[in-house]
């Protein structure tokens, strides 16, 4: 199955109560691609990524990771995935180092490998000085970074990162981009969701635009954006721009 796509979503649906969050998403993420997932707030990005990583059961549809059905054999497939979910806590009464160790051990790594990789990751993400602090005392950006380290520690074949750059300082963000880029060059696959079009356009080679639970466009970044910038194309696709003239009273002069 070496030429199977890294991730293939077929007809994913998910309903919460009577709200349909994801309405039939099909997506093919080629192996070795750096894939961006963009969409307005509430588009269903997090729901889609949760279903693609085994965190949320789809109502309908199939998730194939390197050709294997995730929901049919979760334990076998989850080892191939590195996950950074958004909006969830970590086991934050552990120290940063303990947390990365825990993530590594849960993936079945042995003690020496985990120890060596934890040290490398802490250094690469500029967390060495805080390695022995409890994660509960970390700032938002540091928490994001340690969560990323947990996703990377077992060298997964597919990385799924939900909003990895949120609250991360520019220097760390650049470091993370380098790490991810070299990981893709060595044959790994990365999926990131983001609001920052500029970032996706510079960093990713593929992109999918999602809104209201549907895929509006998908393909290489150049295919999707055509002649315009990704941001303009995104606004064209999603719509919903309101004229800036609207809030006439929002002027510092009118008290």
């Amino acid at each position: 199955m070496s030429n199977a796509p890294a991730l293939e979503l077929r007809g994913l649906w998910r309903k919460f109560g009577d709200k349909i969050a994801v309405a039939g998403i099909d997506l093919v993420v080629p192996a070795g691609s750096f894939y961006g997932l963009v969409g307005p707030n509430g588009a269903g990005k997090t729901t889609t990524l949760s279903m693609a990583t085994g965190l949320l059961q789809p109502d309908f549809g199939t998730v194939l990771v390197h050709g294997q059905d995730l929901w049919a054999s979760p334990v076998e497939v989850k080892g191939m995935l590195g996950v950074l979910p958004d909006g969830v806590r970590l086991f934050d009464r552990l120290t940063g180092e303990q947390l990365i160790t825990y993530a590594g051990l849960l993936q079945g790594l042995d003690r020496e490998t985990v120890a060596a990789r934890a040290t490398d990751l802490l250094a690469a993400l500029d967390l060495t000085a805080d390695a022995k602090k409890l994660v509960v005392e970390y700032s938002a950006g540091m928490t994001k970074k340690v969560a990323l380290a947990c996703a990377l520690v077992h060298a997964p074949r597919l990385l799924v990162l939900d909003e990895p750059f949120e609250a991360v300082d520019p220097v760390s963000a650049a470091n993370i981009r380098d790490i991810l880029a070299s990981y893709v060059r060595s044959g790994g696959t990365v999926i990131v969701s983001s609001h920052v079009m500029d970032l996706v356009q510079r960093m990713c080679d593929h992109v999918a635009v999602i809104a209201a639970g549907h895929v509006l466009a998908a393909g290489t970044v150049d295919e999707v954006r055509g002649d315009s910038s990704l941001e303009d194309r995104f606004v064209d696709l999603v719509g919903g721009r309101v004229s800036g003239e609207g809030l006439a009273w929002l002027r510092t002069s009118s008290a």
Binding site: G54, A103, C150
Partner: protein, 519 residues
């Protein structure tokens, strides 16, 4: 503005009810309970008002003092203050502090405890209907008393939360604060047994209370009825001063909280990898190490452990040298075994780490059981043997051990299944201890009760054997109990881990979805 805040509170209440059927059930139960309590108060006040000899003053002071004390202390110790209108949420709004305070105080009356207390305060005033002058004074004083209740509750909690900003302090205090509450019952019990608790004592207590901030407001009408104008004025002064003090305390604490939102102070640094270094580097070892770390670092677990020695002391205090202390082993076994029944809920959304990992449910279950067992087994052994020696009956040790360990193992098995089936909102680690989580009540109560019944039923063999062995003083039967308790308990635990593991493989993502929805 005040009306806005009251309306906001009502809207929050209504929206809360829309979220789940359990909330409605909980509210109905609370309404029935509250109305019942109110009816009892009103009826007894009606009877009291025509009672001869006249003990109106005495009873009103006692009831009123209990009311005030309840409002001041209960939020600190048990239920927490309703956090829907947390001052911190108004930080960014430019609301004058005076109207914010008035609004929050009035909003504090909305809800079952508020309505019941307001009704009771009115009933306490109505007692004086035969004495018009006293009745007028009573209405005024009831309003003052009620305000002292509501604002006092805000004052004690906000003053206390300012005190306990550091995590370590809070964790220790949470345990210590429960102590007096547990001990007070037995002490009262012993007092009433000895004849010290006579009519004269009650009168003296009421007399003392009526000069304290707790009872002063409620004592004024009695003085007016008796024509003791000087005393009435003095007590009225105390009541007003009390109200003024709690208002100032709340006002200060509030102003402080608005500009210094609560945050945790940096305190602990871990050393090395702790349990992760000491346990095998396997999936199971990792889960166990994580749980053990949490048993030490997470106050919610620490509390479950801390309660056990407290119980031992209480049982001993009630009847030194009696048989009651023998119960401590089995009860500790149950409490500590059942301690992991909300384990997944305690993980909170961090549970995703387990769902995302290639981890089988059985390893998750077993790791949690081993961690809990590593703490519970030695504790139960020590308590059981200690209690038998304390009661002067070393002969019952085998029977008692069989009973305690059997219950512990069964409870661990039951918890393993339950926590794979049900999650309910729990206090988050590091959350303000004086906040309550909404929607916990009924689901918690029902699942806890069902689990309690199941554990009791499943450990019935060793319970019956143990009781017979201890009563009859048969040592042979004691050893049989030990064997039955250990074997049956182990089988049930193995079954519990197996069933719980299978269940978790199936329900894991769904449990996670529910936890995310709570947050």
């Amino acid at each position: 503005m005040v009306a806005h805040l009251v309306r906001l509170k009502l809207t929050l209440l209504r929206n809360g009810l829309r979220r789940s059927a359990w909330q409605v059930v909980g509210l109905v139960v609370a309404v029935v309970y509250g109305l019942g309590a109110l009816a009892v108060v009103v009826a007894s006040m009606a009877v009291l008002s025509v009672q001869e000899p006249d003990i109106r003053g005495l009873v009103v002071v006692l009831v009123g003092s209990v009311l005030v004390l309840g409002w001041w202390l209960v939020p600190l110790l048990a239920f927490g203050l309703d956090s829907t209108l947390d001052p911190a949420r108004f930080v960014t709004f430019a609301i004058p502090q005076r109207s914010l305070l008035t609004g929050l105080a009035l909003a504090g009356l909305i809800g079952i405890p508020g309505v019941v207390s307001a009704g009771s305060a009115l009933a306490l005033a109505g007692v004086w209907w035969r004495t018009p002058a006293a009745l007028v004074a009573a209405v005024v004083c009831s309003v003052i008393g009620l305000a002292t209740c509501v604002i006092g509750a805000r004052a004690t909690t906000s003053a206390a939360s300012a005190l306990v900003a550091s995590r370590r302090f809070r964790e220790v205090m949470a345990g210590v604060a429960v102590l007096p509450f547990i001990v007070v019952g037995p002490i009262l019990g012993r007092l009433s047994e000895s004849s010290a608790f006579s009519e004269a004592t009650v009168e003296r207590i009421a007399e003392v209370l009526s000069w304290t901030p707790l009872g002063a407001a409620w004592a004024v009408p009695g003085d007016v009825a008796d024509g003791q104008w000087a005393t009435a004025a003095a007590r009225f002064g105390i009541a007003v001063a009390t109200l003024a003090v709690v208002v100032v305390v709340w006002d200060r604490a509030f102003a402080h909280a608005l500009v210094n939102p609560a945050h945790e102070k940096v305190s602990t640094r871990g050393h090395g990898l702790g349990w992760f270094d000491r346990l095998p580097a396997t999936l199971l070892g990792a889960v166990t190490a994580r749980c053990l770390t949490y048993w030490a670092r997470d106050p919610r677990y620490a509390l479950a452990v801390a309660i056990v020695p407290v119980l031992a002391i209480v049982f001993y205090a009630v009847r030194p040298g009696g048989d009651l202390v023998l119960l401590i082993g089995p009860i500790a076994g149950y409490l500590m075994g059942w301690g992991i029944s909300a384990d997944v809920a305690y993980d909170g959304t961090a549970f995703w780490t387990h769902v995302a990992a290639p981890l089988r449910g059985s390893a998750d279950r077993l790791g949690r059981v081993i961690a809990a067992g590593a703490i519970a087994v030695p504790a139960v052994l020590v308590l059981t043997v200690g209690s038998a020696l304390l009661a002067g009956q070393p002969g019952v040790i085998p029977a008692l051990l069989g009973l305690s360990l059997g219950v512990l193992l069964t409870a661990l098995g039951g918890s393993s299944v339950l926590s794979a089936l049900v999650v309910y909102p729990v206090q988050l680690p590091g959350e303000n201890p004086f906040q309550t989580r909404q929607g916990a009540s009924m689901a918690t109560v029902v699942s806890q009760f069902a689990g309690w019944l199941a554990v009791m039923a499943l450990s019935l063999p060793e319970i019956v054997l143990g009781v017979v062995a201890v009563r009859g003083g048969s040592e042979a039967l004691g050893w049989v109990t030990l064997a039955v308790g250990l074997v049956l308990g182990s089988v049930l635990l193995a079954l519990g881990v197996r069933i719980g593991g299978r269940t978790l493989d199936r329900t894991g993502p769904d449990l996670l979805r529910k936890i995310v929805a709570f947050a």
